[in-house]
Amino acid sequence: MNYKDNTLSTLNPPLADEKEIRSLDTVCINESQLQHKWYHNLKYLVSGIFFGILLVKAEVISWFRIQEMFRLQSFHMYGIIGSAVVVGMISVWLIKKFKVKTIYGEPIVISPKKFSKGQIYGGLLFGFGWALTGACPGPLFAQIGTGATVVLVTLLSAIAGTWFYGWIREKIPH
């Protein structure tokens, strides 16, 4: 099926076109004109590997560390998230100030996130899930990698939850 012809606009008024559907995730707004061969994606694989190692070594994929965080029994997780945000903020500020470009020479764009009530309801529900599983989505992948194979069930259940959201999204408040 060719998504580029905007056939959806007639079928589905709430979601006008493909770009709008994708943009429901701000992650998905980037529309690069550049066409790359598939192996250009290997750099994301490599950065993912580093990130996975980092998650394990930082112990943020530990169910116990998450429990400590939600009981205010350890500074560890607050230190990690806090310092990550500070470094991220400084980086984004520098990127904007010096108009840093991507390695392909494209200007870097960060799309704004729109407010919706979903950030409240969904945020609370994710918080419940985070305290139960002791993992947010990134750590799920890393936990499976470390050999906790039962977390595959958690991941499949999370995929089911995502699918259920897609199925019901027009009936719940946003």
Binding site: L55, G122, G129, G161
Partner: protein, 187 residues
């Protein structure tokens, strides 16, 4: 050197490195750091079921799937080569509390007494693994992001909706861990 790497990394080393993921992905190809979207791309590629939310060209976002596969591989590499033998050091108050629920095994990053294939066949195992996973998937997509997309990427780029989301993540976690989880673990 390897000995040093094998120790758990302190927060002031690992936190800033996690933060650096934000500029690395931006500079590599204008990618906003976010992980829960990968679950959506998996739905869109495998089970779109004619649902509008999954009707988009997921191939344009395939970098995200490469990234999460990398996280999985990174977990394997770290577990095989880079971890020490010491069990994780946990706050004694938590150790005490968990011992009351029969959770005494600290050899894994997840509590093997519940989150294991055997545990999957107990009531509390099903709640932690299956219900918990479902809430993670549903909640992150409803909120439009998870810890990486909202708490790290969103706050880094000073977006107030992400602050709302982050506060709600934490509030939900506090309520679950302190008010409900004790009853669930006692099952």
């Amino acid at each position: 050197m390897l000995e040093l790497i094998k120790q758990p990394w302190p927060w002031y080393v690992s936190g800033p490195l996690i933060g650096l993921t934000v500029p690395v992905l931006l500079i590599m190809g204008n990618k906003s750091f976010g992980i829960s979207s990968s679950l959506r791309h998996i739905c869109a590629s495998c089970i779109p079921a004619n649902i509008p939310f999954f009707k988009y060209d997921w191939k344009k976002e395939i970098w995200n799937l490469f990234f999460v596969f990398g996280i999985f591989a990174g977990g394997m590499i770290a577990a095989a080569f880079l971890v020490g033998t010491e069990p994780i050091a946990v706050n004694p108050a938590l150790v005490n509390e968990l011992a009351g629920y029969g959770i005494t095994n600290y050899n894994n990053l997840v509590p093997a007494d519940i989150i294991s294939w055997d545990g999957l066949f107990s009531a509390r195992g099903i709640i932690l693994i299956v219900v918990g996973g479902f809430l993670v998937g549903f909640g992150t997509r409803y909120a439009g992001g998870c810890t990486s997309g909202h708490a790290i990427m969103g706050l880094s780029s000073l977006q107030w909706p992400s602050l709302v989301a982050t506060i709600c993540f934490m509030a939900g976690g506090f309520v679950m861990a302190n008010l409900f989880l004790p009853y669930i673990l006692a099952l």
